[in-house]
């Protein structure tokens, strides 16, 4: 089998300890790091994410695959930087204040990093102001918010309002996500986008960056 397909398949099968070895092998076979990333690691994680959404697999499978993806990414990152692959954009990411759920947010971070974004992960339980401060301080053009609790979703609205109050609307875009968060909610609070899973989040962030700045 094509080594890149093998990488994707090993992620799908949850053989996280094989991923790094396969990535090394692909590099020895002179595959381009960017190809290994896109057609190997990301292709595999896309399948894993889709299977999880349909509950054909469960959270442990996703966590194992994410570990494999990390191991592969660690090997590729310095090479991608060397090759001068430009950053796809800078994003500040976190779970909102009051919300300790971070598994989904971490997956979004992995996929964004994989897609070449410069991700500043603020962690969980992050107050509205910290998101906006960090975006300003680090020149990020996108703020990514994750919430898994209906009680913390209103913090997303606070962030959107703060971005407006500081006159950053348009220059700093806000994308929201998390299980209870919907496209309708994003519209209601005036966020710029909603991502329904990690792969979709990457697409939406890419579109935001392309449309903005």
């Amino acid at each position: 089998m094509d080594i890149l397909k093998e990488i994707a398949a090993s992620l799908e099968r949850g053989e996280d300890d094989r991923v790094a070895g396969l990535v090394r092998q692909a590099l020895e076979e002179r595959c381009a790091p960017l190809d290994i990333l896109n057609r190997g690691l990301i292709a595999g994680m896309d399948v894993v994410g889709e299977q999880f959404r349909k509950r054909e697999i469960f959270l442990p499978d996703v966590l194992i695959a994410a570990r494999g993806m990390y191991a592969g990414l660690d090997l590729l990152k310095p090479l991608l930087a060397q090759e001068g692959v430009p950053s796809a954009g800078r994003i500040v990411l976190g779970s909102v204040r009051g919300d300790l759920h971070d598994i989904g947010k971490n997956l979004v971070a992995i996929m964004l990093k994989g897609a070449g974004f410069d991700v500043l992960d603020l962690g969980a339980d992050v107050p509205a102001q910290r998101f906006v401060d960090a975006a300003q301080e680090h020149g990020a053009t996108v703020i990514g918010l994750s919430a898994l609790l209906t009680t913390t979703m209103p913090v997303m609205k606070e962030v959107v309002e703060l971005v407006r109050a500081r006159g950053l609307a348009g220059r700093v875009k806000v994308i929201v996500g998390g299980a209870p968060v919907s496209e309708a909610w994003a519209r209601e609070i005036g966020a710029d986008a909603h991502g329904y899973d990690a792969a979709n989040a990457v697409e939406r962030v890419r579109a935001l960056v392309a449309a903005g700045a």
């Binding site: 509950r55 959270l59 300790l100 979703m153 913090v155 609205k157």
Partner: protein, 292 residues
Amino acid sequence: MKSLLERLAAGEVLIGDGAWGTLLMTRGLEPGEAPEVLNRSRPEVLEEIARLYLEAGADLITTNSFGGSPARLRRYGLDGQTEEINRAAVAAVRRAVGGRAFVSASVGPSGHVLKPYGDGDPAEIGAGFERQIRALAEAGADLVCIETMIDLAEAVLAVRAARAVAPALPVMATMTFERSRRGFFTVMGASVEQAARELGEAGADILGSNCGNGSEVMVEVAREFRAHTTRPIAIQPNAGLPEPRGGETVYPETPEFMAEQAKALVLAGVGIVGGCCGTTPEHVRALRAAVA
């Protein structure tokens, strides 16, 4: 007073209470604050909520100790106060209800995903549950209520901990399931059948499900439990699944709707019917009337 297990064995249907979080928030709990802090700072609030549910007709009143395991409290730098926090949770409910209801000592997930999928060390988490449950038992809880579990391995750790440090207390263990095309599973992948078997083997006296589903779907979960266990079943649904409306979130199921479903739950063989997220004293009152 007849014991909890005797009453269930005699075929009596008992009523659990409803959500605490929302009532705590309207009484000053800040988002991001550990709800268990109030056990020591404002126990009168807990007594008030316990009384509301008692007056609504609940037979079991839950303690505010869901996040009272040291692993969970550590996130707030409160693990050193594990004993005090859990004892205060039981004491407040006991003061409010006396002997008129069972004090159901809540034990929720540790907040860590267990190894090998996450960083949680099973021995440490099990020891943490023992520490929490010992305090709850010493303060006079009537039963241990292990709830909202998604990882069967962690739920089993909690049940074993209860059996080890509080052998005299009945243990209720309920998990949160999602419906998929292949049936009901927790997000970590445990089926109802596996849960019924392993929780039973670990020594849980009462099995079932709470949270994650509205009352209609819970009727199906209950039937599946009935097919796989002979032990009493406890079901505590959400008031439906939350919907965002006008910048706020609303739980759609009315007390009347839940009361109708409660009858179906009883027909399915459920012995304890209560509520989880989104349920109120009004819901509990309607449940009481429906199964009276």
